[in-house]
């Protein structure tokens, strides 16, 4: 395997051919290569491309550079205040050592169904910006994941930034990661909800779900029960039921499919109630 450290984005793009892979934090790629899950002919190290490591507000959007790390998310006041589900997911992400290396783009590109950053990014309508020698393009995150560990990104394309809509003063949100231990654990279910409110009416509802299907996805059917409504018990119950219905989980070492499906409903209900400031149905 060949190793190449890119000094610029152009250099990285030029090197991205024939079985090459970009290396950001390496927290997915290195174990994948070491344990033979991935074969690559060339590793293109992009970790020194500081121009891709930033978190900023521009034109009413939050721009997150591809190489921003999970620790960077945690350190950002902007993320904490205007993307709090993402902030909370970063809190639950692995442990400090991994968070220091793990990049936002790497998390999405790995395309694990349980990628922790995917549900909150989906819930804030993330757009993924890509570049290759052919030019630039942008892809909504909701069209990014195609199938289990498969994305719409072409092998020679580099993710440069992820752009999200900040939360406004009226907007409501919540995040939860169900896991089997308090750190360094893969999600059993991940839920992020964002409700864009306009005078008490839900103008837009987005629910991002993780670990309950082959890919992280938006629960469109559930969202439809909320959009345009004044959200109360009935809307929440219908949305929770629709979310559970939408899930296509698997049995694995962490949990059964039926538990995951059930939790999908429970947690969507719970996060919607939390977002709306309603009391929970059980003490939690």
């Amino acid at each position: 395997m060949e190793f190449l450290r890119a000094a610029s984005v152009d250099e990285a793009l030029a090197a991205a051919r024939d079985g090459a892979a970009f290396v950001a934090g390496g927290t997915n790629l290195v174990p994948d290569v070491l344990f033979g899950r991935k074969k690559i002919s060339r590793a293109v190290d992009i970790s020194r491309l500081d121009e891709l490591r930033y978190i900023e507000e521009a034109d009413g959007k939050i721009r997150i550079g591809a190489l921003a790390t999970v620790t960077d998310l945690l350190d950002s006041d902007l993320i904490r205040t205007a993307a709090s589900p993402l902030h909370e997911s970063a809190l639950e992400f692995a442990g400090p050592l991994v968070r220091n290396r793990a990049s936002v783009a790497g998390n999405l590109m790995d395309a694990s169904p349980a990628a922790d950053l995917a549900p909150p990014l989906l819930a804030q309508d993330a757009i993924v910006e890509l570049v290759s020698v052919e030019g630039e393009r942008a892809l909504p995150l909701s069209e990014f994941f195609l199938d289990y560990r498969k994305t719409a990104v072409r092998p020679e394309e580099l993710v440069t930034a992820i752009v999200i809509d900040p939360l406004g003063a009226e907007d409501r949100c919540a995040y939860y990661k169900l896991q089997l231990r308090r750190a360094m654990a893969i999600a059993v279910v991940g839920v992020a909800v964002v409700l864009r409110m306009n005078r008490g009416v839900c103008a837009e509802a987005v629910i991002g779900l993780g670990a309950v299907a082959a890919i992280p996805y938006r629960a469109h059917a559930a969202e439809a029960h909320l959009r345009g409504k004044e959200i109360g018990e009935v809307e929440i119950e219908s949305a929770a039921a629709a979310a559970a219905d939408s899930a296509q989980p698997i049995d694995d070492v962490r949990a059964s499919a039926s538990y995951r499906r059930k939790m999908c409903g429970v947690l969507v209900r719970r996060m919607l109630r939390k977002a709306m400031g309603m009391p929970q149905t059980v003490a939690v």
């Binding site: 089997l180 231990r181 308090r182 360094m184 962490r254 949990a255 059964s256 429970v266 947690l267």
Partner: protein
């Protein structure tokens, strides 16, 4: 008795060496010219080997030897049953079974050589379930063992049928435990060096350097125990898993065949799939009671999962079967045990030696009983605990016991009565107790030289006044060497920082059985204490001559020998030794008390017994089943604390390790394949999961222990699982966890089951 060292907090004596990175672990050991050893392991749970061709591997440049059934003798070994071979012969019996091994110049070559070994398998049906395995038409794991039954026993004592007839109330339950690993951080490895005189040196993190020669290396290699010099390397964790280390055999066999040193280091995955994890067991319990909460008798039926080979499993099953009967005054018992072969990784011993499983089941059952009788679970226990002076129905002699004090401590510190009065709303408290041996005579017969469970020590003082202790007992990181240093320091009046305890080495150290059954503080500690007394006497005798003062008028204080009456007349210990022109030595040997059990498993297996009670407070999310342990409170009776820091470490480590076992661990076999094959899928608790732990020691001052001490390692882990399960039961208003681990999913099922029962 007032003490200078004993009972105080000290860092372990090799702490600086360890935290500064100077410690040489097995992986750091460099043997000039060493080859890399590696094993080819079975990918199938059960298959017949039709053909095994190693020719291409042997021809690969850089490969020194390839060993397999083709070129090694059929020499079955095993502690209880000779059912295991160095390399699979006609069949493979679990995923991970050793089929062949290579020694090559480096890891890459060794790996390539493994890939060149061609094995033709005929895949056979897998025997994965221990109940299905007993069916008449079940495939056989060992063709000669009918019904897949490795061991079986049935004991009846004390008029059990009458006890059940006369009882005011009876209760029945079933519990199931899971396959969990010791999950030590240091992967297993051994190095071996063949010498031209035919002898072999072996190094590794081993719990018993002496015994591995007699139960494994010697018989399989057709050599005598003395042909091996086994040296313990500093431990990176063991927890029971490094008693039975086949890597030592692999390294030694490869080294002999290659006539070169060989290092055989296992990967983490190999450790998880091919060592000897904690035995899973299925326990049915029935108990008979008087209305006032007096235990009248119990019936226990056990089906224990042996896995593919037996190793120490028959003894573990026996421990599961009998142990808890001795914690309470049990007038009658009937016990049936069956140990069943399956095509899963052979199960084995881990901290608790079956008692974690047994205590989980019995102590969970007790809370169901308390509920049924309308009694407080703490009161029920306090009413029935064994006491000092008791002889249990199985013949156990209780020489010291402070379990009731430990329980009262937990009740007081947890605000038990007030918290018990609430419950059912997602928050609750539970407690559980245990009894444990300090050494076990049974092992001495099965593994040791005779039935004495012996230990020896040598204490050597040099001309600088520094002291070295040689003990045959291994330190596994539990602080055994430190305990020995404190005991000897107390006896000799020489400061602790002058003591050194080198790793155990059969080449020059006296015999010890090794680290298991919580035996080292009691048995090894006594041996070292006797040796230290001997060394002190020799020191004083020598000083008496030089100082012209009778020995009985001398004392040793802070490393100086001085006249009791005239403290300014003194010599340093180093000066005394210098003037003798040699070293001053002391020797000690101690034989454990107790008996070897008879055929009916009657007798007193240990010199004395330790006790503990753990209490847990939990919060249960009633919709997701997620359990959070809010706090743990415990009391332990280790006889006497030798090193307070070390003892606290044992307790805190035991509690977190036990909680981890209870709540998240598991190799999770599915049709003979393990799913928890790495620390990504096999979860162990992190510091984030560790609850606050409040605890205290209740020192029963054991009459046999060195300064009154007995074992602590295993009582520190045994009860926590049941304490958590009982707290969950209380918190949820009746969700009883009958199958481990206490996963959110399982808890939710139990909550639903309890809800259905309450409404029906």
């Amino acid at each position: 008795m007032s003490t200078r060292v004993v009972g105080r907090p000290h860092p372990i004596i090799d702490a600086v060496e360890k935290v500064s990175g100077a410690t040489v672990f097995i992986n750091d050991l460099e043997l000039p010219g060493a080859l890399t050893g590696m094993a080819l392991r079975s990918p199938h749970p059960h298959a017949r080997i039709l053909n095994l061709d190693t020719m291409d591997a042997e021809r690969l440049p850089g490969v020194a030897v390839v060993l397999s059934k083709n070129n090694t003798p059929d020499a079955p070994f095993g502690i209880n049953h000779k059912d295991e071979a160095a390399f699979c012969r006609e069949k493979v019996r679990y995923v991970g079974d050793e089929v062949a091994a290579v020694a090559a110049v480096d890891e890459e070559t060794a790996r390539e050589a493994l890939s060149l070994i061609r094995v033709e398998y005929e895949v056979l049906p897998t025997v994965a379930d221990p109940f299905a395995a007993q069916e008449p038409d079940a495939p056989l794991v060992h063709d000669s063992v009918a019904g897949n039954i490795a061991n079986e026993f049935h004991i009846k004592r004390g008029g059990i049928d009458e006890a059940f007839h006369a009882a005011d109330a009876t209760f029945a339950d079933e519990f199931h435990t899971h396959l969990a690993h010791q999950a030590y951080i240091e992967p297993t490895g051994c190095a071996a060096q063949w010498h031209p005189d035919g002898k072999i040196s072996v190094w590794g993190c081993l719990q018993s350097v002496f015994l591995i020669r007699t139960f494994m290396l010697g018989p399989v290699m057709g050599m005598s125990a003395d042909d091996f010099r086994v040296t313990q390397t500093k431990p990176g964790g063991a927890f029971g898993g490094k008693l039975d280390v086949k890597a030592a055999l692999m390294a030694a066999m490869l080294s002999r065949a290659a006539e070169k040193p060989v290092k055989f280091m296992m990967s983490l995955e190999e450790d998880l799939i091919a060592m000897r994890p904690r035995m899973p067991v299925h326990i049915s319990l029935e108990s008979a009671w008087k209305r006032d909460g007096t235990l009248a008798g119990k019936r226990v039926r056990i089906v224990a999962e042996n896995g593919a080979y037996s190793s120490l499993s028959p003894a573990i099953m026996s421990s599961i079967a009998l142990r808890t009967d001795n914690l309470y005054k049990t007038p009658a018992a009937e016990i049936q045990g069956k140990l069943v072969y399956t095509n899963i990784i052979p199960s084995g011993q881990m901290r608790g030696f079956g008692n974690v499983q047994a205590t989980y089941a019995w102590e969970s059952h007790l809370d169901n009983v308390a509920d049924g009788l309308g009694l407080d679970p703490a009161d029920l226990r306090l009413k029935n605990y064994t006491e000092k002076g008791d002889v249990s129905l199985h013949g156990w002699k209780i020489a010291s016991c402070a379990v009731a004090d430990a329980t009262r401590h937990v009740v007081r510190e947890m605000d038990w009565k007030a918290k018990r009065a609430r419950g059912g709303e997602g928050r609750g408290v539970g407690l559980a107790s245990c009894i444990h041996v300090s050494g076990n005579k049974g092992f001495s017969v099965e593994l040791g030289p005779d039935d004495t469970d012996p230990s020896s020590g040598v204490v050597r003082v040099d001309e600088e006044g520094k002291v070295e202790i040689w003990s045959g007992e291994s330190d596994l990181g539990q602080g055994a060497t430190s305990v020995m240093a404190y005991i000897a320091s107390e006896v000799m009046g020489i400061p602790v920082d002058r003591f050194k305890v080198p790793p155990t080495d059969t080449g020059y150290m006296p015999f010890g059985m090794g680290a298991f059954a919580s035996r080292i503080t009691l048995i090894g500690g006594n041996a070292v204490k006797i040796a230290a007394e001997d060394a002190r006497r020799n020191l004083l005798d020598a000083a008496a001559e030089f100082m012209e003062i009778p020995a009985d008028e001398l004392e040793i204080v802070e490393g100086d020998v001085r006249a009791k009456a005239l403290p300014e007349r003194k010599m340093t210990v180093g000066e005394v030794v210098s003037r003798t022109g040699s070293v001053i030595e002391g020797n000690g040997k101690w034989l454990a008390g107790g008996d070897v059990l008879d055929k009916e498993k009657y007798g007193n297996p240990s010199t004395t017994y330790s006790f503990s009670t753990h209490g847990a407070e939990v919060e249960v999310d009633m919709e997701t089943g997620v359990v959070t342990v809010l706090q743990v409170c415990c009391g332990h009776d280790p006889g006497r604390v030798i090193n307070r820091l070390g003892a606290e470490g044992q307790v805190e480590g035991g509690v977190v390790q036990g909680m981890s076992f209870a709540m998240m661990e598991g190799l999770a076999p599915l049709e003979g394949h393990l799913r928890g094959r790495n620390f990504h899928d096999y979860l162990i608790a992190t510091s984030m999961d560790a609850p606050p732990i409040e605890h205290d020691f209740f020192e029963s001052m054991d009459p046999y222990g060195p300064y009154g001490a007995k074992g602590l390692a295993e009582v520190a882990i045994n009860p926590i699982t049941a304490a958590i399960c009982n707290a969950v039961y209380h918190a949820t208003g009746g969700a009883r966890i009958r199958t481990l681990p206490v996963s959110p999913e399982r808890v939710l099922e139990a909550i639903e089951e309890a809800r259905n029962q309450n409404t029906s």
